[in-house]
Amino acid sequence: MTAAATEEKAATYTPAVESLNAVLAAGQAPPRPSAWSASVTFGWRALLKIKHVPEQLADVTAFPIMMTLMFTYLFGGALAGSVTEYLQFLLPGIMVTSVVMITMYTGVGVNTDIEKGVFDRFRTLPIWRPAALVGALFGDVLRYVTAGAVILVVGLILGFRPEGGVGGVLIAMVLLIVFSFAFSWIWTMFGLLLRSEKSVMGVSMMVLFPLTFLSNVFVEPETMPGWLRAFVEVNPITHLVAATRGLMQGNPDAGEITWVLVSSAVLVAVFGTLTMRLYNRK
């Protein structure tokens, strides 16, 4: 049916008393959904938005491919002598960098979404309050998984051969997704705090660039001057890279894995709380 024909019909619509009355009479709601079910419903909304605007997946495919190719060939020859050799070291780090960088879109998404009238409706529904944000993050997790998978495939094509096997790679990716989910609460907070999409982007860049580059992603910290090493060693990204690299290379480091899980819990506790405080006040 053409749009014009629909308009025609819409214009001749006359509210029918009987059908509206029937709808109103049947308007009792069932018991409210659980926190989990409400969050999953918001996750479904995020999927629908990806379905309607698939271009938004370009960020999570093109960007990781570019990162992998760029750094593999840029540093491969110089740092390790051989591209394939360097790739074994670099790929886990590049995967962490790309996925953690993509978490930035969470803040931008929240910032643009929350300004729209539909958030007013969500906030007047009697549901578990964090559900809208948790659900949005569920949608983002799908993007993280996509980005991680894209990098893995590109890596395998370029000659990445993880010693940790399928199991090691999968556990490493799950760990990365868990951390990214927790880390995203920083961006939901900024998304609510800052006025414009641009300023959210700006802050994200200022945090993410030092965090990802001043780490063990590209080179081992032993090669760095002392002051830089001090920062690199407390940088959570360093621990995340060490944990994923260990898992993928077949020598998991329980200490680093625990460090990542604990810092994820702390991130959710601190930034999740701050986010909800802002969300309720907005």
Binding site: A10, Y13, P15, A25, G27, W44, V118
Partner: protein, 326 residues
Amino acid sequence: MSELAIETAGLVKVFGDNRAVDGIDLAVPAGTVYGVLGPNGAGKTTAVRMLATLLRPDGGEARVFGHDVLREADAVRQRVSLTGQYASVDEDLTGTENLVLIGRLLGHRKPAARERSAQLLAAFGLTDAADRQVKNYSGGMRRRIDIAASILKTPDVLFLDEPTTGLDPRSRNQVWDIVRIIVAQGTTVLLTTQYLDEADQLASRIAVIDRGKVIAEGTPGELKASVGAGAVHVRLRDASQRPAALEVLTKILGPGVKPDADPVALTAQLSGEDSDREAAEQASRALAELAAVGITVDNFALGQPTLDEVFLALTDHPATEKEVAA
């Protein structure tokens, strides 16, 4: 006095040094349409957002069916629905997806949510547009999907923030009909508007607000009585007949008759105590009398007072947009 659906006392919201809502008292009887009338920037949206638990009041109190909007926000949310001034549906999603989403959030299982959505879309004449993204809807259709989303669960109180601003007359009438049906089923409707005729058509009581304050409150009849029932606008064929016309009109309609800037036009203010019907009778008597004395009338119109006239009568200024505090 019947039960109150909404009750506010000294409600205040301040943005910086701008007192957007500056001590508003409202008492909205249950089961009625209550109109909040005011120009752009008067504080209507801010007031509605506080009542719908979206904004935290800076002072005063507000209750919805006895529940405090701050301390018992959850109980208030169980009872209210909001159709915001700007679309409160997701424009990227289709009509069906929007309604199923809200249905799921209200606790329906997917099949029940789908069934209820289909029912609502049919009742609102949107079945053909069900699978189109809302951003491709016309203005009238958007309003309807928005109201449909608000009654997915039949609310005790429905907030409609300027539901007809920007709509063509036909869509406006559709929205009016929908509001009448909803209120007849027992829902209390609080409706904000910039149009006196809209408040007059729908509301049983009206609060006029200006710069964050209620400057008049009452039934539409009481309000018009204090403002004047409107005006008769007359255009003559021949400017030289105007003094004679003025005399005839003054005799029938009283002293409120004045020549306009246009040399062939006159305006007669009708006295406020008259009902609409009496005003119409007076006007037709005046028209007949003009014809009887041989004055040719090109155009004759009976107009309701505009929001500007209401404001001129109630305050010393027309309904201008409030300056935004820098």
